[in-house]
Amino acid sequence: MHNFDFVRPSTLAEATAAMQAEGAQALGGGQTLMPVMKQRLAAPDTLVSLAGIAEMIGVCEKDGALVIGGATTHAQVASDAASMYPALAALAGMIGDPAVRSRGTVGGSLANNDPAACYPAGALGSGATITTNTREISSDNFSTGMFDTALEEGEIITSVAFPIPEKASYQKFEQPASRFALVGVYVAKFADGVRVAVTGASEGGVFRWSAAEAALSGNFSAEAIEGLSPEASGMITDLHGSGAYRAHLIGILTKRAVAAAH
């Protein structure tokens, strides 16, 4: 690891100011950034820790949405959101292992936008709104590709509002080594329709499976999508499975999510 300066602001205003410095990098829970820095593949001049900003930590329900502070850990979401939005709390409780969940944050996960991470599916599947220190971004416009988002340089995710659906479920099929999603499918049924978000599968990162959404919006049952699976082209092929296998899993997991939604 190369040398760097470390600042730990206690307010969002201080954090915003610190992020103006040349070579500044926001630090959430460090579950991706720290290993990358240890491998000397990233060398920020200044790390701006978001862990001490009280206004960015916590879970509450507001206007029919679950609002999570950007620096809230997965462990806290798994426990504090369980009664408000059980499917999203369950998603948080399935990330990594207890050590990861105790450090990793929702803001960090969304900002990193790993194509196999869980939160991008939860956010897109819920139709979440991502609030930063400068603006609000719809989850439909947030992901712009693998490890790429609409965030500008220095922009900090302060909170995320997840509209609470009538019922929802996240089904994750784990990649055996990393235990990220080989494929993960988030299904959420709202009064005005169904959203299906898929992570782990596409070379373009998290995406909405619109054909399934259309079928399920008319008939929210596993039978409605029997035999349906997306095109294999554009799906990731790697050591752990082909694009065709991932496309197949999307169909299976979507059916399971529909059956399990509550």
């Binding site: 000397r40 099929f173 055996p176 080594a177 990393s178 080989l182 296998y245």
Partner: protein, 788 residues
């Protein structure tokens, strides 16, 4: 027998320090003035080193020295321990393996320079500043392509990429070919034994020290066999006299084979310590461990089994391509040959066996012995093709094995692959398995799985392996450049407690608990009064290390023999003390007595007398009570086992879940059943890891795709079922004094084919025409096999 002697399930005394954070590992040792080494490693798999400019690195803060391959041109290479001859009698190709790459780099991670600096961070910074001009070449990755095309060569000085083309037993080749040609049924299977990364919890670490006042060197290192490392450095690489070099392997956090071998980093820290006059430490990162620890397995095999229509085996014929990587690691040539080919008769009376092994150089990390070492490859090939054969003939997998087993009245039995099995009872093991695994109840469990939409399968496997490595006279004939005995010194101190200096290094095997049980049993003393000393060449007589499940069978036998010598000497002293003749003195439960009298003297009193010899007849009895024995086994030992596994396959996703795993093994005498159970369970976890999860994959350019734990899947607790282990159906080894066979590798040998057989069984029962799936049997591979 003393309390806590042979057969007692004593808790491991070494766990007190391991479980309370008081273990002392190599990296915990930082002598005053330590400097730090970091290696510059090749990013490409194959290239010519045009130039290395170290001037920028040398000018950086804290940098003390930058070394390159040029600095080691005059010293020797790291040799292969076994010389294998080709089928035509010519010797194998043995390219030099230098301390640092010189001329060419031959795999990703091949070290071509090293920086020594005041801190590890300064050394890392400087290593990045080394300007190496390396002209990249096409990489040699696929073994069959490497054999077919001699144009792209890993070693330019060789005529092709074939290290050797070996036949076993070459004289049996024609008879085996003819038997197969004439057989009524032949089952053929092509398979891959997947390449594995050892992933010991503790990465390699080495510290070199040099004392200019005495000229003494000390290497503290993560090693399974410090004496072999000393021998290799002294005799082959650096030429340091053995009596001027101490090698110390303190607590070692797992090896699984990967720390048997001498690595270039060890020689480098010693050379650098002399150059700088300061200690030099190197600690591998996990990434370096992935790229540079010797990998395991990596065979591509075609096996044929010829049978009568009733399932009687007529012949096994095997052709294997064995990857040795870019350089020959110390045991790499023995692993696919004498630890693999000689086992290709399995537990069976089959009359014809022939094995052809082509060892191939590739631009990948060296491949060498990894838990089981050749025997897992042999067992996997045999037991997969037998399972396929049983399916083709419509036979029960247990019945076909029983039909061909060597029977208890046939020992000693010389197998068609040339080994003489001394003891065993395979039917008894299967009898035990059928009960413990409740084979009869399988159908009910399958039906229950089916009611939940899951495909259940039952996998059966039996194995034999060769441990107690090895009889020097035999391995010498087979090409070993060393003997494979072991040594122990038993020192009875004046106050009666005992130090035992053993050649076998303990890094998870529990020697510090089990060896005292042997000594205590023989001497009738409290095992707690016996202390084991290991790992330090300056303290112990000699040792050939810990691998091949050899510690108890070979070193334990040396301990036994040395303790017998102690009893002999102590009997002389006791006879003197009781004014009798030694011939009249008996020794039992720690007490010497004169036959037909009530005269007795305790072992402790005799020990004290040995060091206070005021009235000794010095012409007849020397003072002191210390004895050394070297033990060289008469034969290999032959542990065997019968395993069963039940799996559920999710037909929607292809995911395999292991429901049960039962291992019934014959290890001969069991000294500490708790430790043995733990060894088997650890082996099972590694075997299940190979079967379902682990896979080291290089891309066509020689980049290691599974180069971190994010892509290389190690088995975790929740991947494993309850592991049921039974070692009660034992037959004694007939040729070592303890009757022990060895247990360290069995689980990793027996379990992979058991798991794969179970998966194929599950798919077959569900009507899928799937003859084989290569390991790891991942969800994607199972799904593809079901939907091909």
């Amino acid at each position: 027998m003393a309390d806590g002697g042979i057969g007692a399930a004593t808790k491991r005394r070494e766990d007190v320090r391991f479980l309370t954070g008081r273990g002392q590992y190599t990296d915990d040792y930082t002598p005053a003035g330590t400097t730090y080494a970091v290696f510059a490693r090749s990013q490409v798999a194959h290239g010519t080193i045009k130039s290395i400019d170290t001037s920028a690195a040398e000018a950086m803060p804290g940098v003390l020295a930058v070394l390159t391959g040029e600095d080691f041109v005059e010293v020797g290479g790291n040799p292969a321990g076994w010389l294998i001859n080709n089928r035509n009698g010519t010797p194998m190709k043995e390219p030099k393996r230098p301390v640092l790459a010189h001329g060419k780099v031959r795999h990703v991670g091949d070290a071509f320079a090293a920086v020594i600096a005041e801190t590890a961070e300064q050394a890392m910074d400087a290593a990045e500043a080394i300007d190496a001009d390396i002209e990249e070449h096409d990489a040699v990755i696929d073994m069959k392509a490497a054999v077919a095309d001699a144009g792209t060569r890993v070693h330019d000085e060789l005529t092709d990429n074939v290290c050797f083309d070996w036949g076993w037993i070459e004289d049996n080749r024609q008879a085996t070919d003819e038997a197969i040609k004439a057989a009524p049924h032949v089952t053929t299977l092509e398979l891959v034994n997947n390449r594995l990364v050892p992933n010991a919890l503790e990465p390699r670490c080495s510290i070199g020290e040099y004392n200019p006042g005495t000229g003494d060197y000390k290497l503290t290192t993560t090693s399974q066999n410090p004496h072999l490392t000393r021998l290799l450095i002294s005799a082959f690489v650096l030429g340091i006299p053995e009596n001027k070099l101490t090698v110390h392997a303190p607590d070692v956090g797992g090896g699984f084979g990967s720390k048997i071998y001498h690595y270039g980093e060890e020689a480098l820290v010693l050379a650098a310590a002399k150059k700088l006059g300061r200690p030099v430490k190197w600690t591998a990162s996990r990434s370096e461990a992935f790229l540079t620890d010797a990998h395991g397995r990596d065979h591509v095999t075609k096996i044929e089994l010829a049978t009568e229509t009733d399932g009687t085996f007529i012949a096994f014929r095997t052709e294997t391509y064995a990857n040795v990587g870019a350089y020959l690691s110390n045991f790499s040539t023995a692993t696919p040959t004498f630890l693999h080919g000689t086992l290709m008769a399995g537990n069976y009376t089959v009359p014809n066996v022939y094995v052809n092994v082509k060892a191939v150089f590739t631009n990948t990390a060296p491949v060498d012995a990894y838990r089981g070492a050749g025997r897992p490859e042999a067992t996997y090939s045999l037991e997969r093709v037998i399972d396929k054969c049983a399916r083709e003939l419509g036979m029960d997998p247990i019945a076909i094995r029983r039909k061909n087993f060597v029977k208890p009245d046939q020992y000693p039995f010389t197998s068609a692959a040339g080994l003489e099995y001394d003891s065993g009872n395979y039917d008894a093991l299967v009898d035990g398995l059928e009960g413990l695994a409740d084979i009869k109840g399988f159908e009910a469990r399958r039906a229950e799985s089916e009611s939940r939409g899951m495909l259940r399968g039952l996998g059966i496997n039996t194995y034999i392996e060769a441990c107690g490595i090895a009889p020097s006279n035999l391995v010498g004939v087979l090409g070993s450049r060393v003997g494979l005995y072991d040594a122990a010194t038993v020192r009875v101190n004046a106050t009666g407690n005992i130090s035992v200096m053993v050649g076998a290094h303990s890094h998870g095997q529990g020697h510090e608990t089990a060896f005292p049980q042997v000594v205590a049993d023989l001497l009738g003393v409290d095992p707690e009064s016996v202390e084991i000393v290991h790992g330090d060449t300056s303290k112990i007589p000699f040792g050939m290390g810990t691998y091949g499940s050899r510690s108890l069978a070979v070193c334990g036998s040396a301990v036994y023999r040395a303790t017998e010598k102690i009893i002999k000497k102590a009997t002389l002293i006791a006879a003197h003390m009781m004014e009798s003749d030694a011939e009249q003195v008996d020794f039992e439960d720690g007490v010497f007595s004169v036959r037909g009298t009530n005269k007795t003297v305790g072992f402790g009193d005799v020990a004290l007398k040995a060091y206070i010899p005021h009235d000794f007849p010095l012409e007849e009895i020397e003072p002191g009570l210390e004895e050394t024995a070297f033990y060289d086994p008469a034969n290999f030992t032959y542990p065997s086992g019968a395993y069963a596994c039940e799996v559920e396959v999710d037909p929607d996703t292809g995911k395999v879940t292991i429901c049960s795993m039962v291992a019934v093994d014959d290890f001969g005498t069991v000294v500490n059943p708790m430790i043995v159970t733990g060894q088997v369970q650890g082996g099972l976890a590694q075997g299940i890891g190979q079967a379902l999860l682990e896979n080291a994959v290089y891309d066509e350019n020689g980049q290691l795709n599974s180069g971190s734990l994010m892509d290389y899947a190690m088995p975790r607790a929740d991947d494993l079922p309850n592991l049921v282990v039974d070692h009660s159906h034992m037959t004694r080894c007939t040729h070592n004094p303890l009757g022990v066979k060895g247990c360290g590798e069995a689980g990793a040998i027996g379990s992979p084919p058991t798991v794969v057989n179970a998966v194929i069984d599950a798919l077959s029962r569900a009507g899928h025409d799937v003859a084989h799936i290569d390991m790891p049997v991942s969800p994607a591979r199972v799904w593809e096999a079901m939907n091909k």
